[in-house]
């Protein structure tokens, strides 16, 4: 299937639940609400035509101050790049995350890679994933305050790690 066909299928199936649909250079994406995310992803994965069995990537985006952007009422988006190994096509699902409700359902039980990637989005954007088993910072150190990839975080605001000994002892890394 082409990405446009997948998009048509998703929009047909979910109708008004698709907040935005989007095409650029042959790549298509749909934006859905956080509440519908799991349903859409499960559908795409299990449907025989789309069969997106791979979650390739999971990325947060901060649209604070994005120019000429009237129809986007939310600040953050989390983009899920899907790939189907049997059909050899890709598709992108995005979830709208308004600033006053920074919550997205976790999909770590659908794809195990989401576990770490959601931690990364949490670390860098502060979006929390409900149902995640171990939502901790992954790239920045534990003492880091704020979320580095947000547009309102100054790029060279450095935060020292003050308690090296504690960090080097094992207690902090919880063994899963």
């Amino acid at each position: 299937m082409t990405e446009r066909e997948i998009m048509a299928k998703v929009t047909g199936r979910f109708g008004a639940k698709v907040l935005q649909s989007y095409e650029f250079r042959g790549q298509c994406a749909v934006t859905v609400k956080a509440g519908d995310l799991r349903e859409v992803l499960t559908f795409l994965r299990d449907d025989a035509d789309t069969a997106t069995d791979w979650l390739m990537d999971l990325a947060g985006v901060d649209y604070l101050g994005f120019p000429d952007d009237d129809d986007r009422e939310w600040r953050f988006e989390v983009a899920y790049q899907l790939y189907s190994s049997s059909q050899n096509h890709r598709f992108r699902v995005k979830v709208a995350v308004p600033e006053d409700k920074l919550q997205v359902p976790s999909i770590w039980d659908l794809w195990a890679i989401a576990n770490w990637m959601e931690r990364e989005v949490f670390d860098l954007y502060g979006v929390s994933f409900t149902g995640h088993p171990n939502l901790r910072r992954i790239l920045c150190h534990d003492e880091f305050e704020g979320h580095a990839l947000r547009k309102d975080y100054p790029i060279n605001k450095r935060q020292k790690l003050s308690s090296p000994a504690e960090n080097l002892l094992c207690a902090k890394v919880e063994l899963a």
Partner: protein, 398 residues
Amino acid sequence: MSDGTHVRPIPSDLLTLNIGPAHPATHGTLRVQVQLDGETIRNAACEIGYLHRGFEKQCETVYYQFVIPYAERLNYMGPVNNSNAWCYAMEQFLGIEAPARAQALRVITSELGRIIDHAVCIGTNLVDLGALTNFWYMFNYREKVYDLYEELCGARMMVNYPRIGGVSLDAPDDWLEKCLRLVDEMGEAVSEVQALISRNRIFMDRTVGAGTITKELAISHGVTGPCLRAAGIGYDVRKAQPYWGYEKYQFEVPVADGGDTYDRTIVRFQEMYESCKIIRQAIASIPGGPVLASDHLVVLPEKDKVYNTMEGLINHFKLVMHGIQPPKGELYSATEGGNGELGFYIVSDGSAKPWRVRIRPPCFANFSVFPKIIKGKMVSDAIAALGSINIIAGELDR
């Protein structure tokens, strides 16, 4: 004594042990915590982020063309693969295409990059297993590839060779012949190293069955590259969604079925031969013509025009000072890096600086499977498996 009180009970609690962040076997900066029962790993957890250099934030502050050197420092084992991939992503974004000669040069440099990546991966993995010779041997060939890069563009490791819209320089005279000679030489060297270890009793005892990644685990964890192909799934972006004319070249995607450390090593060996094959074909069929696209909004004009014509000078000035301005939009572009699918997710707001650049780092996905595959194994198995997954911290933590 008869009541047995003098016998101290054997401690039954688990011993927690840190491997890393500054441990030689981690080849960089990652930290694995294991809980040991004797020498058996009962539990494991990974801590990453020790080389989080803020790549993604940094990219938001520079022009699109200035991301090229940053991209090269992601996977520093085969640097040029990343910059080629970034330029390809930008070309897709801008809707232009690099000339055929530039694409062939990208194929050649990238495949050389893949060979040196695998060579050092295998070499260092064997060092961890106690076989030092192969490393020196393979590293010599890395130096020879560096020489080729140096001749091509003046730098040996971080070559900064591609440009958005092509490559910066054409290959000098007889470079392609030298490349061909080296590829022949390298093929022999690789088979010598392979002969040393592939049926080696010690090597097999250490690696067969160590750190097995099953198919299901691989799919669920998004494992790509040699690790995936060793697990029995022949997914390779070069075959699945070809770019730079990979569809023209005859090559196999080596697949094994065990998914263990041994298979990963053998798959890497096979891939090196395939890369040699691709390079030979690319050199044999390399077309003539320019190496940069002629789109003036993207590619800098020739120096002759810059110095001698007003339009050329203005064009140069505009591109350097104001950058490339792509349309508003977002795009995900994938290529096959040394360790698997290297993806760039670019969001543009129409200005000269990216709104968001996200890397899909193959290592990140590959490493996330690590705690699961070492559970129940010995510490020495974990070390062997860690080397064969080929974690590059620059890409893992970005």
